[in-house]
Symmetry: C2
Subunit: 369 residues, 2 copies
């Protein structure tokens, strides 16, 4: 394995174990498993999901949906409020596959009913407390207006209520995650009970990575859509979703300078690679990732007192504990476990596994219009 | 101009004015202008620099250097500590153009002297107080060791001392910038005086965006290398380098939801597009950019109390003042002035100007090995 520049290393075995774990949990709880592919964004990794029986997927943009249609996926939820400006993509996709859209605004339904040319599935996005977007479950009139508009067009196939309990990301223990999970599905179950007779077969779709990883009690839920779990990251260890050994990606970075006067090393690997997502350690230090030593078939666990203390566009500045500092030299390649894996891998067009195999992925920055 | 997804809008006139301003200042002060192209990363924008007489450029990676060699540039400094693992790229580039490398480590010189096949220019990176990387000016023995190694190979052509006074980014007034500028060039001038007889013609290369924008007094400096000034951004207005009207890029974002209960709108445009660089307003609010209304030939100035309060992978959550909230609706496209323009444009493969012209740029995430 010859790495000469920042490269996303993928531990295939860990990644497959993560997929297997959630697939098993879904099966045991009678849940449809609709993984969110915004994290890995790779047709090649998507095959590992097919191997465990997955047929439904979620993505975060219509463009990403197009990429996965090319990869053979036929049941896709775009888990982002419909952007009506992309109606041509919506129509193209809806004519090819079973496409589900997210509704948070009634004007969008008016626009769609005028311009849609094929049937689409409609999920109403419910705000279960994250306060990012979605209809509040208390806005009964708003919901009624939306249902009127849904009933108005025979190209709208109402599928159910969808939520993302993103406030689990503020949790720091299993019990906090469990509490948010219970409150969220309670809201969704009530909505289901209320509308089930009108819309037989309506589904509840929920399940962020923290909830899917550790929460129990899924009665009434039909479908889960976690994404990050495929790789996990250091933030998820702090939330309590996983352990450090479950993290499946590391950013490989060449060391370009060593500063003995302050136990710091400089790596080729900065904000464009890692992203500027940050965390605070228990000691109150801000960091952008945890350095690890690479092995032939993976990486070691992080070292004490060793963290990425700062990043600029292409530089990473790593504060090292003595043990780590002594083990590395300029010209070595080390790994960095990312704070937020979804953001870290986003820039790249491929992963490299430990059998030296490149696995390609979707790349955003490519003209498509 | 039909925008349907997050797109970097370029105000060409503002950008050209920014280039002209620094080019004029360089000329008036007898300085070589070696713009850092890591900000715009575009061969097409680079032509505007040729128009004002620029022949020397700086980039932040060898791969970016390759891109600009294809664009016809023949004198390039890679303003990042040499990564010896990329020796093949170094040799390829050094055989084609006048290539300057940055040295912060003597072991790297040993490696280069063994493996270089063409002559390269060598700048020693001096730490003038930023404490990211570089040799401290007080490390006299360290400098002597480096010079010994430079003299050892006839493929090393010592060019001079290079610095980046990145601590100007913590400044919040012209006088603070001026002070850092004076201290930095004082350090560099002393080094020049000490080594000039040994290395006639050695140059001092410095000049970050804040210093180049507002500092005075450039005696003894030979070359400036600002990058960000080509676009500027909201952070630079807080530092004092520019005004809001000087910002040349805005991220165009479709509005996908409006939440009247909390004066918030949701846009398609998140962390992968804007980056997670953040700022604190004078009122202590964290934000990720300032929303603006778009016009046919540019954008209006930001509105009071209106800022990007949160971002996830593809969502932006905008807190709106009443005036802004009333002016926009779902389906509109608004602009966001970025906190850090270099990071915001990085993901994209093109800019769109107000004559509907696409200007292509370098894209990182592309397999090149």
């Amino acid at each position: 394995m010859k790495i000469i520049e920042p490269t996303v290393l993928l531990n295939a075995k860990t990644c497959q174990d993560n997929i297997q774990k959630i697939a098993t949990k879904a099966r045991q709880n009678g849940l449809h498993f609709r993984p969110h592919f915004k994290t890995h964004q790779s047709a090649e990794i998507s095959e590992w999901f097919r191997d465990v029986g997955v047929t439904r997927i979620a993505v975060s943009s219509l463009t990403m949906a197009e990429y996965f249609v090319d990869g053979g996926w036929k049941d896709i939820t775009v888990a982002f409020p419909v952007n009506v400006l992309e109606i041509e993509k919506v129509n193209r996709l809806a004519s090819q596959i079973s496409l589900n859209l997210l509704i948070v605004d009634e004007w969008v339904l008016d626009e769609l009913s005028k311009r849609l040319t094929s049937e689409v599935g409609i999920f109403i996005k419910i705000d279960v407390g994250t306060r990012r977007t979605g209809i509040s479950p208390n806005e009964e009139e708003h919901l009624e207006t939306i249902f009127e508009k849904i009933n108005h067009s025979n190209l709208f196939n109402f599928k159910g209520f969808l939520a993302h309990a993103g406030h689990t990301y503020s949790a720091r223990s299993h019990s906090e995650i469990q509490k948010i999970h219970e409150d969220s599905i309670d809201i969704l179950r009530k909505l289901k009970a209320k509308y089930e007779s009108q819309y037989p077969g309506l589904e509840i779709s929920t399940g962020d990575t923290p909830s899917c990883s550790v929460a129990e009690g899924w009665e009434g839920v039909d479908e889960i859509r976690p994404g990050n779990f495929v790789f996990y990251d250091v933030m998820q260890t702090q939330i309590g979703s996983c352990e450090l050994k479950d993290i499946a990606v590391a950013l490989a970075c060449p060391i370009v300078a060593k500063h003995g006067d302050r136990n710091e090393i400089i790596v080729y690997g900065g904000g464009i690679h890692l992203s500027k997502d940050r965390m605070t350690t228990r000691k109150g230090q801000t960091h952008f990732g945890l350095p690890v030593l690479l092995k032939k078939d993976g990486w070691e666990l992080p070292f004490d007192e060793t963290f990425v203390k700062g990043i600029s566009q292409e530089h990473g500045v790593i504060k090292c504990g003595d043990a780590f500092f002594e083990k590395v030299k300029v010209g070595d390649v080390i790994g960095v476990l990312p704070v937020h894996s979804c953001m870290t891998v986003d820039l790249f067009d491929h992963y490299l596994d430990f059998e030296n195999k490149k696995m390609t992925k979707f790349v955003y920055g490519k003209s498509r219009n």
